[in-house]
Structures are given as structure tokens and as C-alpha cells.
């Protein structure tokens, strides 16, 4: 990509921000670099390119550097430290951070400063990872493009006129643009995996209940899952192990050890005997495939690589997946309308007081109209309707039955295959503004990722190359049975390495330099 007289930032040889998290951890352990140097390099990069990307809503330079200094001092004293100690990380603005504004991308929470840390944030602190700041997102995680943020859209590092995916576009753009080696995301219908696909990064939705949601602002409680965003599969695994594990503060947290994902991501690359299932119906809109030709082409190549690694590719059928989107867009708004009822302008959040001496009810209604964006209002009203008397059975009740059918489809498919694969997102990154007026078109972006959320199974997106027609990143999705997250990492790491060799480098290494816009 030619820059036309514009200045570019960073990207000098030996730039610390270009290292993987694993390389950073090793360099720190070997004393080749300090955490302060690493953290400062990322803060400099953020300062230079965040005005162009709007990936970070808040940067906590002082907090990050303080953690970095403590880690450096502890290391100098010879203290034993966690593996990622000193490696910086970014947090989606959906997780509560004590003393740091947490907005969920909404005007409703524009001034909300949590008095406590989400469990995942506490675990980052325990792991001694400097927290660089909070990343942009679609308001209350509703969206597939990060255009629904009340604080402006995030831009894709590959092309500033395009979306970085959603709702975790800020986290994905931060990782793809070398503003952070690692970031946290939340995935309700694909919000870690789909941004991963369109920014050329790795995104993982762990098994439902595998990572605590305590202190994470709720969207749809039976679908939401926290997970890692990274540039490599091994990096994602390292963060996954920091985040995962039982939390007594979350009643849906699985009381079992974290699956051995780091071992899987760094183990053998041989996939002999692995059965890979291609779901015939994934991506089917009911009126044909949603996938762009360049996306299909990269997917076919990924299948070839899997075969070369020793896997057998079989076709499986999940006949109810075509109804997954419809069920999702009933279940999500229903749970969201309930969860977002807490924003009543009484105890916290924005308050609008109409003239006169309004009642509490009038203040609530005016505040909610003012402080919620269009997409949030659309979904709250849809959910309230779906749950209302006379419609409950026809909509919400039926959607719950479809959910059962989808879970059964997965069960049957996993009898024939060890993992399932598909393209992650139907298209490469579209242009900012292109789908804003058409909610239905926006919803289609999650067509391949949604079934996993309905059934609670884990999923991963890894970069599978660039689409021929536009040179933009494409992702391949891997799905495994619940509690078998390590399978994603074993297959993902093997495929990542095979693709790296075949394509002459990682996808993220091919990202163009970011134009400096202010």
C-alpha cells in the first residue's frame, strides 16, 4: 500500500511492539528487555497511531508503567514471576477496572468508574501484566463493526476506511496494529472471532463458563463469553490460561481445571488421524451462501493444509444451523432487555431529568432514550416484545427449542468429527458506514459464529490469508466440543504454522503501516 506523502509511524527494525507475547515473555525472563521498555514502546505506539484507529478509549500510562516497574524490580530481586509478568495487555471496555472509567461503549456509562475489578482483570493483575488501557467496542457489545460505539468507530489497521469487526473491534485493532500484544474480548455471537478474522488476528471464545464473567458488563448472560485476542495461537493460549478457571463469584463458572491449552498450542504439529468436519449448512442464509469468493478460496486452501498435516476432511450436516441466526436474534435481545433494565438512572449511570417535577418513571424513560444508542434501543424493544404476554411462546419459547436442536446437531457432528471448521466471517472488512442503515445486513456477519454461542462450545478464528479480490485478511474458524478447548489450540497452531510456511510469513506481518491521521 503506497502512502501518498503521509507520514507513517513506528515499524523500525527491532521495534519491541512487533514481538509476539511469547517472545516478550522470553526476552523479559532472559533479561534482554525490561517491562518498562516494553510497556513504554506500546504507549508510544498508542500515542502515535491511536488517533488514526480509535482503538483505545482510555490509556492508563501511569498504571501500566507502575506495574511494569514493580515487575522489573521483582525480577531484579530474583523473585519467581508468572510467565506473562511484564507483558502488556489491553482490556475491552466491557470489563470493570477499579478506578478506571468503564463505559461499555455507551453514553449511559460515560462517567462510570467501577469500585471493583472484574475477576479477569484481577487475574491480569495477579499475572503482573501491565494494563495499557480500555479498548473501544460496539455499545454494550451489540454490533459487528464497532460503529455502534458512542465514542466513534474504530478503524481497521489494514484500511482506515474499513471496520475492524465488532463488537470487539478495539481489541482486535489494538492487537493487529501493534498497540498491544494481547487483548481481552467478549464473544456473545462472534465478537472475538469475527473481529479476529477481519483484522488478521487470532480470537478465541472458550467453552461457555470456562472464563469468569464476574464484573463483566452483561449483554446476554447465557451466551456471553470472555476470551483472548492475540497475533498467534500460542499467545492466545498463554492469555487463556491466565484468564480461565473457576470463580466462586460467578455461578455459571465451570468448576474444573483450565484445559491444557498452552501445551496444546506448543506441542506436536502432526494432525494424523484427526477428523475435520465441514458443516454443509454453515453460512447458509436460506437463500444461498453468505461467503465472498475470496473467503471460500482461502478456506479451501486451509482444508488442503489440514489434509497435508494428516487430517481427514469429512462433510457433516447440521440441518438446524440455518435457524441459528433467528433464534439468536430472539434470545439475545430478550436477555439483553432484562440485563439492561438495570440502567434506570437511579443508582449509577447517566440521568436526564425532564422539566417540571417528573416522576422516577419519567426520568428513567427520558434517560434511557437519551443515553442508549439506536442499536441498543432496537434490541431492548425487540426483546421486550419477544418476552411480552401473548408472544412469549411464539418467539422466545420457540427460539429456546431451536437452541436444543442446534446443540443436538453439534452432538451428532462431533460423533463424526473431532473439530468442525468453516470460514469465520462471510466477507472481508466492509467500509465504515456501508451497513449502518440496515440492521439485517449487519446481523449476517455473525452467521458462522453464532451456533457456537447457542450451544456453549468453544471456537477459535485464525488468519487464513488475504482475499484475492481486496487483499484483506480472512479467518478460518475451528470449533470443538465443550471443555475440549485444547483441541482448538492444537489444530489452530498446526494450521497456523502450515499457512505461515505456505504463505511466507504470518498474516499480521503483512499489515500496511498505519497512516497518521489526527
Amino acid at each position: 500500500m503506497e502512502s501518498t506523502g503521509m507520514t507513517t509511524a513506528g515499524n523500525t527494525t527491532g521495534d519491541l511492539t512487533r514481538l509476539t507475547a511469547l517472545q516478550m515473555a522470553d526476552a523479559l525472563a532472559a533479561g534482554e528487555v525490561t517491562s518498562v521498555e516494553l510497556t513504554q514502546a506500546h504507549l508510544d505506539r498508542i500515542e502515535a497511531v491511536n488517533p488514526s484507529l480509535n482503538a483505545f478509549l482510555l490509556v492508563d500510562a501511569d498504571g501500566a508503567l507502575a506495574t511494569a516497574r514493580e515487575v522489573d524490580e521483582a525480577r531484579a530481586r530474583g523473585e519467581e514471576l508468572p510467565r506473562l509478568a511484564g507483558v502488556p495487555v489491553a482490556v475491552k471496555d466491557i470489563a470493570c477496572t477499579r478506578g478506571l472509567t468503564t463505559t461499555a461503549g455507551s453514553r449511559m456509562l460515560a462517567d462510570f468508574v467501577p469500585p471493583y475489578d472484574a475477576t479477569i482483570v484481577a487475574r491480569l493483575r495477579d499475572a503482573r501484566m501491565p494494563i495499557l488501557g480500555k479498548t473501544n467496542m460496539d455499545e454494550f457489545a451489540m454490533g459487528s463493526s464497532t460503529e455502534h460505539s458512542a465514542f466513534g468507530p474504530t478503524r481497521n489497521p489494514w484500511d482506515l476506511d474499513r471496520i475492524p469487526g465488532g463488537s470487539g473491534g478495539g481489541s482486535a485493532a489494538a492487537v493487529a496494529g501493534f498497540l498491544a500484544p494481547l487483548a481481552i474480548g467478549s464473544d456473545t455471537g462472534g465478537s472475538i472471532r469475527q473481529p479476529g478474522a477481519v483484522t488478521g488476528t487470532v480470537g478465541v471464545k472458550p467453552t461457555y463458563g470456562g472464563v469468569s464473567r464476574y464484573g463483566v458488563i452483561a449483554l446476554a448472560s447465557s451466551l456471553d463469553q470472555i476470551g483472548p485476542c492475540a497475533r498467534t495461537v500460542a499467545d492466545a493460549a498463554l492469555l487463556h490460561e491466565v484468564l480461565g478457571g473457576h470463580d466462586p463469584l460467578d455461578s455459571t463458572s465451570i468448576d474444573a481445571p483450565v484445559p491444557p491449552v498452552v501445551a496444546a498450542a506448543t506441542g506436536t504439529r502432526d494432525l494424523t488421524g484427526l477428523r475435520v468436519g465441514v458443516v454443509r449448512e454453515i453460512g447458509d442464509t436460506g437463500e444461498g451462501s453468505a461467503f465472498q469468493p475470496g473467503v471460500i478460496q482461502r478456506f479451501e486452501e486451509a482444508l488442503d493444509q489440514l489434509r497435508e498435516l494428516g487430517a481427514t476432511v469429512v462433510e457433516v450436516s447440521c440441518p438446524h444451523f440455518v435457524y441459528a441466526m433467528a433464534a439468536y436474534y430472539l434470545i439475545l435481545p430478550s436477555e439483553a432487555s432484562s440485563n439492561l433494565a438495570r440502567y434506570d438512572a437511579m443508582r449509577y449511570g447517566a440521568r436526564t431529568t425532564p422539566e417540571g417535577s417528573p416522576s422516577a418513571e419519567q426520568v428513567m424513560a427520558a434517560s434511557r432514550d437519551d443515553a442508549f444508542g439506536d442499536e441498543v434501543k432496537r434490541r431492548i424493544i425487540l426483546g421486550t416484545y419477544a418476552l411480552s404476554s401473548g408472544y412469549y411462546d411464539a418467539y422466545y419459547g420457540q427460539a429456546q427449542k431451536v437452541r436444543t436442536l442446534i446443540a443436538r446437531d453439534f452432538q451428532a457432528a462431533f460423533e463424526q468429527a473431532d473439530v468442525l471448521v468453516s470460514p469465520t466471517a462471510p466477507t472481508t472488512a466492509f467500509r465504515i458506514g456501508d451497513k449502518m442503515q440496515d440492521p439485517m445486513a449487519m446481523y449476517l456477519n455473525d452467521i458462522a459464529t453464532i451456533p457456537a454461542n447457542l450451544a456453549g462450545v468453544p471456537g477459535m478464528s485464525i488468519p487464513s490469508g488475504l482475499a484475492e479480490e481486496d487483499g484483506l485478511p480472512v479467518g478460518v474458524q475451528i470449533l470443538a466440543p465443550a471443555m475440549e478447548d485444547q483441541r482448538l489450540y492444537a489444530v489452530g497452531a498446526a494450521l497456523e504454522e502450515a499457512l505461515r510456511q505456505a504463505q511466507g510469513g504470518y498474516v499480521f506481518e503483512k499489515a500496511p503501516e498505519i497512516e497518521v491521521r489526527s
Partner: protein, 98 residues
């Protein structure tokens, strides 16, 4: 099967405690009608003998022992309040003036 009118949307918005403005109602009504029509396809598949699934995990009630623990201070609890007075949340009137 749907036919979500502008009045229906206004009614549901009232139930959800969102005071929509007229232009919002106009836009949302059309979009919601289209979405409701589309999500209605769930009725094509799920037979009576299919049990509904509300959650991917078999949920059990999680309790803790009934003991006093530290909690948020009053100051912390009120720190984000839109209005506070005398260590309490300040809220508009809840009862009618009558």
C-alpha cells in the same frame, strides 16, 4: 406472522421504559417489523416434543455460607450516583403527589 405497528412499538417502548421521540418511532417501527418477521422462522422447526434449552450449562444454585464479609463502603457505593444526599441515593418522586 408479524405486523408490528408504530403503536405497538410505542407501547413496547413504554414497557421497556424508553421514551422514544417521533422520528425514532418512525424509523424503528419499520426495522422492527422486518426483524420480527424474519425471526418468526423459528416457528417452522421446533416441534412440541423438543424441550426448550435456556442455557448451555446445567445450572445449579450456588450459595455461600451466611457470614458477614467486608462490602463496598458507603462512599464507594454512592460514588457513581447521579444524585446523592446524606449518604443516600437521590431519586425523583416515586409516588404521585395525590
Amino acid at each position: 406472522m408479524s405486523n408490528l405497528s408504530r403503536d405497538d412499538v410505542a407501547h413496547v417502548a413504554m414497557l421497556a421504559r424508553i421514551q422514544l421521540e417521533d422520528h425514532e418511532l418512525d424509523r424503528l417501527a419499520g426495522q422492527l417489523d422486518q426483524i420480527v418477521d424474519w425471526v418468526g422462522q423459528v416457528n417452522e422447526v421446533a416441534a412440541d416434543d423438543v424441550p426448550p434449552m435456556s442455557h448451555p450449562l446445567p445450572l445449579v444454585n450456588v450459595t455461600r455460607s451466611d457470614e458477614v464479609r467486608p462490602s463496598l463502603s458507603q462512599e464507594d457505593a454512592l460514588a457513581n450516583a447521579p444524585a446523592a444526599e446524606d449518604g443516600r441515593f437521590g431519586v425523583p418522586r416515586i409516588l404521585d403527589e395525590e
